[in-house]
């Protein structure tokens, strides 16, 4: 009977709400900070078992047993199934201040061995009956009511999502919230997670041996905007504890812990097409078609979806040629923020107007985002964009048809490309000037010229020598011929005479002017002797030659042979006198 009452009492104190089917095995204390001499109640409860071996006594870690163990058993029948709950209770105390650890207790249920968590008891020096140290401690953090901020991670990249959970722990039966101060956030982009009305969780949570009712007050998605240490300031809450029918309750002010996040800058090597997204991302690109008309609008839709900081994605730059008029995109979001972060999609809708007909192969578009799981940048690649822009209807737009000239826009500047093909390499320090080839090239042609000149001069000399001799000898040869003619005259050989006179005259002329005998004719004689005696000598000379030639073939003679002979001798000596060789 006594055991039964104790069991009920313990049930009331701890307020266990037992789930029917679940085997539970827990060690709890009523408080874990005591002053020396104060009692602490340790309960080890086993619930929902059909049969179990005995609960072992845990290592009490040096605490003294005031009373116990006391055992209590209870049976219940739910849906016709019998189950048993049993518990053992000790009252413990410590005489020396310090930290005591109650070790785990074990129980064998069927084949499984269950184990309780160890419990740490802090014992401060008690001052007689009161325990001011314990109350001091309690003021710092109320054992019965406190609030925590927990973060899904303490180290994150800039732009990565962190979930902050604000949880209230309470051991009071009844609480009435008054007001609260939200933590101040700087350096974060915060998104509230919609939880609905805050509610107590159905199960209790054990923190260091004490059991609490737990409520998640608030969840936030935090996105660091800059690198460095970022702090989530503590949250402050005011509650009225145990308001009753007659009392308004005790006001309690609690403050949560503050949390710190180390935000890491994104690694270097940020791609040029980075759009600021951190997370996991997919891309879809939609165009109405490839064949469009000039001056008609094209809707180009780019949708990014996935789990990322979607609200921070910048409008991607399309980098279209200036022939396309581009307007700022329309952004439509379908983003949901829940306990696992921000997810959904963000859509950019671009309006493009091609101004000139033609075929435009715009290639594929690439956008990069950062994947914090792999710690690297990843690239999204669209299908390649191709537009066949056909001439627009002439009536559809007034601007069509008017020859609107466009300045050629300079889009960027870059160095000119490398030279390809033959680079005309040469060994260092080698030049054509001063090389053997060059010297040879400069010396050989003039040397050849010199040789030519020398050869030519020599030849000229020889030639002029020959001519001079001939000229000088012309008189003698003529005289010899004339002598022959005289002999022929004496012999009365008429033919030989005229032949000798003709030869003397022609030969003399040829020798005198360094000509071949064949070159002697009337024109040549006129040219060479034209200056002498105003041409009379020339005519006379021609007459004489003609006369001697005529006489050779005809028996008739114009004048006596003697006269012909004298005239020939006279004209030769006259020419000899007039023209000096």
């Amino acid at each position: 009977m006594k055991n039964f009452i104790l069991a009920i009492a313990s049930f009331l104190i701890t307020g266990v709400i037992v789930h029917a089917q679940e085997v539970t095995f827990q060690a709890t204390v009523d408080r874990n900070e005591i002053a020396t001499g104060d009692p602490v109640k340790l309960t080890i409860a086993l619930g929902n078992v059909s049969s179990a071996s005995g609960i072992t006594t845990p290592d009490l870690g040096g605490l003294a047993v005031l009373q116990g163990p006391m055992e209590s058993n209870s049976f219940s029948s739910i849906n016709g199934r019998m189950s048993r709950s049993s518990s053992r209770i000790w009252y413990l105390t410590a005489t020396q201040p310090g930290t005591y650890v109650i070790g785990p207790s074990t129980v064998r249920v069927g084949r499984a061995v269950l184990q309780t968590d160890p419990i740490t008891i802090k014992v401060s020096k008690g001052a007689g009956s009161g325990s001011s140290a314990a109350t001091n401690e309690a003021q710092k953090r109320d054992q019965n009511l406190f609030c925590t901020i927990s973060l899904s991670k303490n180290k994150a990249y800039v732009g990565e999502q962190i979930i902050a959970t604000y949880t209230l722990f309470s051991r009071y039966n009844s609480l009435q919230p008054q007001d609260y101060d939200l933590p101040k956030l700087s350096g974060f982009w915060a998104e509230e997670v919609d939880l609905g009305a805050a509610n107590w969780e159905s199960s209790l949570r054990t923190v260091n041996g004490l059991q609490y009712r737990v409520a998640v007050l608030k969840k936030q998605v935090l996105i660091p905007l800059r690198s460095g240490k970022l702090t989530v300031a503590p949250m402050t809450l005011n509650y009225l504890v145990n308001p009753g029918f007659f009392s308004s309750g005790t006001p309690v002010r609690i403050q949560s812990n503050s949390s710190e996040i180390t935000a890491v800058e994104l690694p270097p090597g940020k791609p040029a097409d980075f759009i600021g997204a951190v997370g996991e991302l997919r891309m879809e690109m939609k165009t109405p078609g490839t064949t469009v008309k000039a001056n008609e609008a094209i809707d180009l839709t780019i949708r990014f979806s996935g789990r990322a900081n979607l609200k921070l994605i910048d409008a991607p730059k399309l980098g279209l040629p200036p022939d396309f008029e581009t307007y700022d995109p329309k952004i439509s979001d379908k983003i949901s923020v829940n306990g696992s972060g921000m997810s959904g999609s963000r859509e950019f809708q671009y309006l493009l107007i091609p101004r000139h007909p033609g075929k435009y192969d715009l290639g594929d578009m690439t956008f990069s985002y950062f994947d914090p799981n792999s710690g690297s940048y990843k690239q999204l690649r669209s299908d390649s964009l191709y537009f066949n822009v056909q001439p627009g209807d002439a009536n559809s737009s007034a601007s069509v048809g008017t020859s609107s000239k466009m300045d050629v826009q300079r889009l960027g500047s870059d160095i000119r490309y490398i030279r390809t093909g033959d680079l005309e390499l040469r060994r260092k320090g080698e030049h054509l000037f001063g090389s053997g080839k060059y010297i040879a090239g400069m010396v050989v042609p003039p040397a050849l010229l010199l040789l030519l000149f020398l050869w030519h001069r020599k030849r000229e000399e020889q030639l002029s020598d020959l001519g001079g001799q001939r000229r000088r000898g012309a008189d003698k040869v003529a005289k010899r011929r004339l002598a022959e003619a005289e002999t022929a005259l004496k012999k009365e050989d008429r033919n030989a005479f005229h032949d000798a006179v003709g030869k003397a005259l022609e030969g003399y002329f040829a020798d005198k002017f360094n000509l071949g005998v064949a070159e002697v004719n009337a024109a040549m004689i006129r040219e060479k002797l034209g200056t002498v005696d105003e041409g009379r000598t020339a005519e006379e000379y021609i007459n004489l030659i003609t006369a001697s030639q005529m006489a050779r073939f005809t028996p008739v003679e114009g004048k006596p042979q003697r006269q012909t002979y004298d005239e020939a001798a006279a004209i030769i000596s006259r020419i000899e006198n007039q023209i000096r060789g």
């Binding site: 000119r416 030279r419 005309e424 030049h431 054509l432 090239g441 042609p445 030519h456």
Partner: protein, 250 residues
């Protein structure tokens, strides 16, 4: 017999082999550059440049440095290329782009009109241009003089002699220019600052009076040297000393 000839044969073939090897390297470098691997392209061009040079090669090296963001080296190689081929507009254009990045603004002396004519005259496609011209002029002179000697007609003779005399004049002039070009190309009278900043000092000694501070990419004339120090003159005319390792001679 063959064994004795073999070294001779190799000795004769060696330049041809080296040339073929160079052609291969240049092709690889061109490909690497086209693929955007400027570092690899630079290494290949540099390996060719150890023994060989040409305006095109130096220009390509300058382009590699420019793409790698090494402005002072790019300027250095463009200047070297421009020295070999003073008229080349691609080199000049890229050099102007790189020079725009130089911090120091030097007031360049305005080009003297006659001086620019002289520049154009002494310039040309490459170092050997004037040497080649002088050779051609010499040949023309010889041909016309020979014709004048051999020809009989007096009127032609005179014209040919006049042409030969003109050619002779041109030969002498172009030879002088060729000599000047070689001397200019081989001269080491200009330098580019390589270190990001450098102090120009009054004396060749650490801790002497600081005259001014210059930055990378600025061009200087070299006046003299002493130990590890180089005496330089700026385009403004000021003269000072700086450590040798801070600059690279064009």
């Amino acid at each position: 017999m063959m064994r004795q000839l073999l070294p001779l044969l190799i000795w004769f073939c060696l330049p041809a082999l080296a040339y073929a090897n160079n052609a291969q390297l240049l092709e690889q470098a061109q490909e690497a550059y086209a693929n955007g691997d400027h570092k690899h392209a630079l290494a290949l061009y540099d390996s060719v440049n150890t023994d060989y040079t040409s305006a095109g090669l130096l220009y390509n090296i300058g382009n590699c440095y420019s793409k790698l963001g090494d402005m002072p080296h790019a300027i250095l190689y463009y200047e070297r290329a421009l020295r070999l081929a003073p008229g080349a507009d691609d080199i000049q254009a890229n050099l102007d782009l790189e020079r725009a990045k130089v911090v120091d603004r030097m007031n360049q002396l305005p080009a003297f009109t006659l001086g620019s004519v002289w520049d154009r005259l002494q310039g040309g496609k490459d170092v050997d241009q004037w040497a080649r011209r002088s050779l051609w002029a010499c040949v023309i002179m010889v041909v016309f003089a020979a014709s004048a000697i051999l020809i009989r007609r007096n009127s032609f003779k005179r014209i040919f002699l006049a042409v030969a005399a003109l050619a002779l004049l041109f030969t002498v002039l172009s030879t002088a220019l060729a000599a000047y070009r070689v001397q200019e190309v081989e001269s080491r009278s200009e330098a580019i600052i390589m270190s990001p900043t450098v102090e120009i000092l009054g004396e060749p000694r650490k801790g002497s009076t600081r005259l001014f501070i210059l930055h990378q990419g600025t061009k200087l004339s070299i006046v003299g040297e002493q130990g590890d120090w180089q005496e330089v003159r700026l385009s403004s005319g000021s003269v000072g000393w700086l450590p040798k390792e801070a600059i690279e001679i064009i």
